[in-house]
């Protein structure tokens, strides 16, 4: 992390989260502060990377295309392409791109669909999907393997999205945890199956497209 103010901000948020967490009646706030700290920290880390016009527009373009892709898939209920696009971005373009596109796609699509308390969690969840895509890239190169990866990540995504809802507002008992996760299971499964279908239909093509594009980011000039 580079900027001083961001470090200080991160530190304060973390400390506040810790303090509040000890007061057991404000667990929701503690987790929310922790999420905010993670997001601010993530933004600072991403800002520290290369920032040419090409890099900024690459993140923006992929995030916007992922959000616009929802419109394309609208005739098919319960299928949205964002997760697959984010994972493929991580696989093809690396860690920074994967996380940045994941977080930006969450923010951007909620801009049009409506922001809610789930926005920071969606940013973290999709950012995580992008990160997993990048870190597990060698494992996700085949069509079927990518589909399996996206299948599993749907449940990870669902967990991250629901964890705050459970930890913050439900009693901290095993039975309530199981019940809450079970309530989310149908949605996560629909998400998982949608991911599998998309990854099987278009996954490797998207990956090749992004890899070709990634190569063109580095320009080579021959002078004479």
């Amino acid at each position: 992390m580079r900027s001083r103010s961001a470090q200080i901000g991160f530190g304060i948020a973390l400390a506040a989260a810790a303090a509040v967490a000890f007061a057991t009646h404000a667990s929701a706030l503690a987790l929310l502060l922790a999420a905010a700290a993670l997001i601010v920290g993530g933004m600072t880390w991403i800002d520290g990377g290369p920032t040419s016009a090409k890099e900024v527009t690459l993140i923006a373009t992929l995030a916007a295309a992922a959000a616009a892709g929802r419109v394309l898939m609208a005739p098919i209920p319960d299928v949205q392409p964002v997760t697959v696009i984010v994972v493929v971005t991580g696989v093809a373009l690396g860690l920074r791109a994967g996380i940045a596109v994941g977080a930006s796609a969450a923010f951007v699509s909620n801009f049009f669909l409506g922001q809610g308390p789930w926005t920071p969690w969606q940013m973290l969840a999709w950012g995580l999907c992008g990160a997993v895509g990048a870190l597990a890239a060698p494992l996700l190169r085949g069509r079927v393997r990518l589909a399996v990866g996206c299948f599993l990540l749907a449940y990870v995504y669902g967990f991250v999205l629901d964890v705050w809802n459970w930890y913050g507002f439900y009693p901290h008992t095993w039975s309530s945890f199981v019940a809450r996760q079970a309530a989310g299971f149908p949605f996560d499964s629909a998400h998982a199956l949608g991911n599998v279908a998309l990854a099987l239909a278009a996954g490797p093509e998207l990956r090749r497209l992004l890899e070709r594009y990634g190569k063109r980011l580095h320009t080579v000039i021959v002078w004479s």
Partner: protein
């Protein structure tokens, strides 16, 4: 009110709701936010429904999923995994508190989404590169949605309408390819306008008015009071 001040006020109200201990204070916060939300009229309906459902679930389910307290109001059967189902007054009180908290936070976000001017809010923060990417993406989404609709229409014009999931999924690649082309043109235009050059200055933002200062002061006061009580 400038959006940054309003956002600060909303955040303070949400934090206060999450910290406060008394049913009446959290209830008052939720009610106040509900009134503000209703100013948005019909658009508020999906948000209100969503908040009602989530908060309602908390209120209905959590008493059944724990066993604390002494004043048992209802005792039910023993169910596998979940254990004995029962409802006590203490559990109801905790459930109501949590449900109202969730409602308050949900409504605060709803007010943010419905009534705040997002463009001005983001413009205030555009200094950072990561925020610029988000701003750019927001600007690009309508363009890409038109491109996506154009892809489908072009195929219909050739009597090749896309069918089912495979048909639509096959359009994701061309959509992304077209988007990346637009992105490259955009990057070129940005460089031609000096992006990336050291020594960047900022458009001065409009001055803080009394209302804005009052809102921020109120925000701080609310959080302090909530923690104190």
């Amino acid at each position: 009110m400038r959006p940054t001040a309003a956002a600060a006020l909303l955040a303070a109200l949400a934090v206060a709701a999450l910290v406060a201990d008394h049913l009446w204070s959290v209830g008052a916060l939720a009610l106040g936010l509900l009134c503000v939300c209703l100013r948005a009229g019909r658009r508020a309906r999906p948000y209100l429904w969503g908040t009602l459902v989530s908060a309602g679930l908390v209120f209905l389910l959590s008493p059944l999923l724990q066993s604390t307290g002494w004043h048992v109001l209802w005792s039910g059967p023993v169910v596998p995994v979940l254990g004995r189902l029962d409802v006590t007054r203490e559990e109801l009180w905790v459930a109501a508190l949590n449900a109202l908290r969730l409602a308050a936070v949900g409504l605060a976000f709803a007010v943010y989404a419905l009534l705040l001017d997002h463009d001005r809010l983001i413009a205030a923060a555009t200094g950072r590169r990561s925020v610029l990417a988000a701003v750019l993406a927001t600007r690009l989404v309508p363009t890409f949605e038109r491109d996506a609709a154009g892809l489908v229409e072009a195929l219909r014009g050739r009597n090749l309408a896309p069918e089912g999931l495979r048909g639509h999924a096959a359009l994701l690649s061309p959509l992304l390819a077209g988007s990346l082309e637009r992105g490259t043109n955009l990057a070129e235009a940005m460089e031609a306008r000096g992006f990336g050059r050291p020594g960047r200055t900022r458009l001065p933002s409009p001055p803080w008015r009394a209302l804005d200062v009052a809102a921020v002061a109120a925000a701080v006061a609310i959080v302090v009071v909530a923690i104190w009580l």
